[in-house]
């Protein structure tokens, strides 16, 4: 039931109607302590059963967890040994689809928060999205064969984002290998070649704990990345009476270390010398600063010596956009830097991909030596943990002011924001001309609501998805604290798993994990396109049944964003959808709220209603913002490509 004030003569549904139907829905049930058997927030015609969360779902979710320890009569299965290790390692969450049954059942039984969804790939994206904004390890799982291969896009995306995602999948029985006797059989590990940090088909049952140790050693050390384990049934189903039947069964304090590399004093001295010689130094603070919790040291270093900071990578907020030394919005100042210090930049650009000048000197801090010097010639390479290096630099640099540099940053920020205002003014004009909403307007209004309205600007998290619309919205969205912004398509640029990333963000907010703890229960917002939503909209079922407080804006322009490539005869039809499709109705049919808007004012009102429903009732909303593909053409300049500069707020490649 959409809230709409203008819908070509169709009946409208009021806020009162919505509340009457949804007040007893799943989200409201949680808020009011009602049972879960009441009606969900969708239209229910007479005699038509209402959408609802079943009793068994709620009962299952509220069951007490099990502590898997040896000592009982039955011992433990391989799956239970693995789940026990995951619990001991603090695995933060599991996002899965059925399959790999014994493993996912054991992980959930161990008390690790588990979310069961509809599409393996999107649940893998949820694990990635969760990891990106919490910095914690999340697992994903699917069945062998089709379930596993369905995950490939999001495994690759997690790999490019260097997310510590534990990819799990069952894989038939070894006893049946090469017999073509069963369904779904395939070798998984070659399929993830090049898109994982580590992988193993576990083939020796009594080494299951050893390989759990392998996995977490890789996930929690150095530069993170996905780890892929596949479990033949002989491993997950094996039984062990006591720990002596397992090889290498010992605690995490013995199979991995929390020790990290610290910079050598001579390298710190050299770095300080270079910083002091520089007039306009700039730190590129990549995701490693976030994952290794270096943001306080970063701020101390930057402020002590007045060094500019620009963020890069899939997650933003570890320095923040409004700091006077932030260059996130200061695109035109990037070219002025005479020294760049890459810290935690895991995926190095080549010279020319970042908007620094050709003479800029470069220091890079990285946890492992093998990547230093790759793509970007260095004046100084330092092997160190990001936090350790930033602390050492902050201790060693003298206090210094750089008034001219700070002024230049401020001027560049103003220029960027003035350009945004110009795009917004154009967008408003275009919106009025067409009766649809330009994405520059969507971005500005969403930013006004999240950062300049009635809620604290640090409260929510944001998932930036989409393609052409993203070129306008990304430049408006901000990060004021660590883990606030997930650049979902970062580097690999998958179109589609955005709802998965939002699901992961919603779970992180629901659970209050990592830097989200201070904002537990607050809504997560997202943006995607009408191409992207089609891949993942079914997870609104998952979002709704787990009562995740999320709001997704869908930029609906009736076409693939790449419609601009339809530049020959008989090509356009391949890029076009039916016009005026109603993604809000799909969300409603899945038990969530739907909003349909065609004007800026309607969008503003819809954001407020959606926020209220998410924050107070834990009911999710999909806002279908009707736009026009004509905005991508030169009839409406700047068309499909507003100016984009990396690194900083408009970045997505590195």
């Amino acid at each position: 039931m959409s809230e709409r004030t203008r819908d070509k003569g169709k009946p409208t549904v009021s806020r009162r109607d919505f509340l009457a139907k949804s007040a007893l829905g799943a989200g409201a049930a949680a808020a009011l302590g009602a049972t879960s058997t009441t009606a969900m927030a969708a239209d229910a015609a007479p005699n038509m059963p209402a959408i609802r969360v079943g009793d068994e779902f709620t009962k299952s979710l509220s069951e007490a967890p099990i502590s898997f320890e040896f000592g009982g009569d039955k011992g433990l299965s391989g799956a239970e040994v693995f789940a026990r290790a995951c619990k001991a390692e603090g695995l933060a969450a599991l996002f899965c689809c059925p399959g790999n049954y014994t493993v996912i059942n054991s992980i959930s039984a161990a008390g690790i928060p588990a979310y069961g969804g509809r599409i393996e790939d999107i649940m893998c994206a949820a694990a990635d999205g969760f990891s990106r904004i919490t910095g914690e390890v999340a697992a994903t799982s699917g069945t062998e064969g089709p379930g596993f291969t369905n995950m490939i896009m999001s495994i690759a995306s997690a790999d490019r984002a260097h997310s510590p995602v534990l990819v799990l999948a069952s894989n038939m029985a070894m006893s049946n290998e090469d017999r073509v006797g069963g369904i779904q059989q395939m070798y998984q590990q070659p399929t993830t070649e090049g898109i994982k940090k580590y992988g193993k088909r576990i083939t020796i049952p009594n080494r299951v704990h050893e390989y759990a140790a392998y996995a977490f050693r890789q996930l929690k050390s150095g530069v993170p990345g996905p780890v892929h384990l596949d479990f033949p049934s002989e491993v997950s189903g094996a039984r062990f009476k006591d720990a002596s039947e397992l090889k290498d069964f010992y605690d995490k304090s013995r199979y991995r270390t929390e020790c990290v590399a610290h910079p050598a004093p001579k390298d710190v001295a050299k770095a300080v010398e270079m910083i002091q010689k520089a007039e306009r130094p700039m730190i590129v603070a990549g995701q490693g600063v976030f994952f290794h919790k270096g943001w306080e040291a970063l701020q101390r270093l930057a402020e002590k010596n007045e060094i500019a900071v620009v963020e890069s990578g899939p997650v933003r907020g570890h320095f923040g956009d409004e700091h006077r030394l932030s260059a996130n919005l200061a695109a035109d100042a990037l070219g002025s830097a005479d020294l760049v210090i890459f810290v935690g930049q895991y995926l190095m650009p080549s010279v020319g991909e970042y908007r620094f000048n050709p003479d800029v000197k470069a220091i890079r801090v990285h946890p492992i030596a093998e990547d230093l010097g790759r793509n970007w010639p260095l004046d100084l390479g330092i092997v160190a943990d990001e936090k350790a290096a930033l602390e050492a630099f902050a201790d060693a640099v003298p206090k210094r002011t750089r008034a001219t540099w700070v002024s230049e940053l401020a001027a560049a920020r103003k220029k960027f924001e003035d350009q945004n205002d110009e795009y917004f003014a154009l967008g408003l004009k275009y919106s009025q001309q067409t009766g649809t909403v330009h994405p520059a307007v969507t971005g500005k209004l969403m930013a006004d609501f999240l950062y300049r309205g009635g809620i604290p600007k640090e409260q929510t998290t944001y998932v930036q998805g989409g393609w052409t619309g993203a070129g306008y919205t990304r430049r408006w969205m901000r990060a004021y604290r660590p883990g606030q912004f997930n650049n979902a398509p970062y580097q690999y640029y998958p179109i589609g798993p955005d709802v998965g990333h939002l699901l992961g963000a919603g779970a992180a907010m629901q659970l209050g994990i990592g830097p989200q703890k201070a904002y537990q229960g607050s809504p997560a917002f997202g943006f995607t396109g009408d191409a992207g939503i089609a891949y993942s909209v079914m997870e609104f079922d998952t979002i709704t049944k787990y009562k995740l407080p999320v709001i997704m804006t869908v930029h609906n322009n009736n076409a693939w964003g790449m419609i601009t490539a339809a530049n020959t005869v008989r090509s356009a039809h391949m890029y076009l959808f039916q016009e005026n499709l109603r993604y809000d109705k799909i969300a409603e049919a899945l038990g969530a709220r739907g909003e349909y808007v065609t004007t800026p004012d309607q969008y503003k009102a819809a954001l407020q209603r959606a926020y209220d429903a998410a924050a107070r009732e834990k009911v999710a909303t999909l806002i279908n913002v009707q736009s026009s593909r004509q905005f991508l053409t030169n009839t409406f300049p700047p068309g499909a490509q507003p100016r984009n500069v990396e690194p900083g707020v408009t970045a997505y490649s590195h």
């Binding site: 005479d338 010279v351 000048n357 050709p358 003479d359 970007w376 230049e408 300049p637 499909a640």
Partner: protein
């Protein structure tokens, strides 16, 4: 300063950008006395050609932008952009000081070349500013939305990413 010394400064100044990873596959093409020619990959791995006429102290980015019709809007916008790079409102480190290096733009049969007249006292400055200005054109001027197709057609922009 002797002309030979100036030539060595030109060589070293351009080779410097190869060591910084900016120019790739950098090479000097053998030429007649008094004229240097360098070729290298830059900006999306497009081949660029730079010449230096020692007698006139002229450094030229030859056929820097192809397929720009004379008196076209793009030609005009480019000239306006380049004039802007010597504006007094820019900080010193971003401005081309025309007292130290002369600057001209030519368009021959649709190919834009950038000509820098170096001065004996400011050879290094002139080379550095020429590279920076050319880079500004590639990174900023061509980054405007109206040049997406131009980038696809002439500067290896992957249409999948456009």
């Amino acid at each position: 300063m002797k002309r030979d010394d100036e030539i060595e400064i030109i060589r070293a100044s351009l080779a410097h950008y190869a060591t910084r990873g900016a120019f790739r596959s950098f090479s000097e093409v053998p030429g007649r006395p008094g004229k240097l020619e360098f070729r290298f990959l830059w900006f999306r791995d497009v081949t660029f050609r730079v010449t230096y006429e020692a007698a006139a102290r002229t450094l030229t980015f030859v056929d820097f932008l192809p397929a720009v019709p004379a008196r076209s809007p793009m030609d005009s916008e480019l000239r306006r952009f380049i004039r802007g790079r010597s504006a007094s409102s820019l900080p010193d480190h971003r401005r081309v000081d025309l007292k130290k290096v002369g600057l001209a733009v030519t368009n021959r049969r649709g190919a834009i070349s950038l000509l820098f007249s170096l001065k004996a006292a400011h050879i290094e400055y002139g080379v550095k500013k020429s590279v920076h200005l050319a880079y500004d054109v590639l990174m900023d001027f061509l980054n405007e939305s109206q040049y997406v197709e131009y980038n696809i057609n002439h500067f290896n922009l992957n249409p999948e990413m456009a």
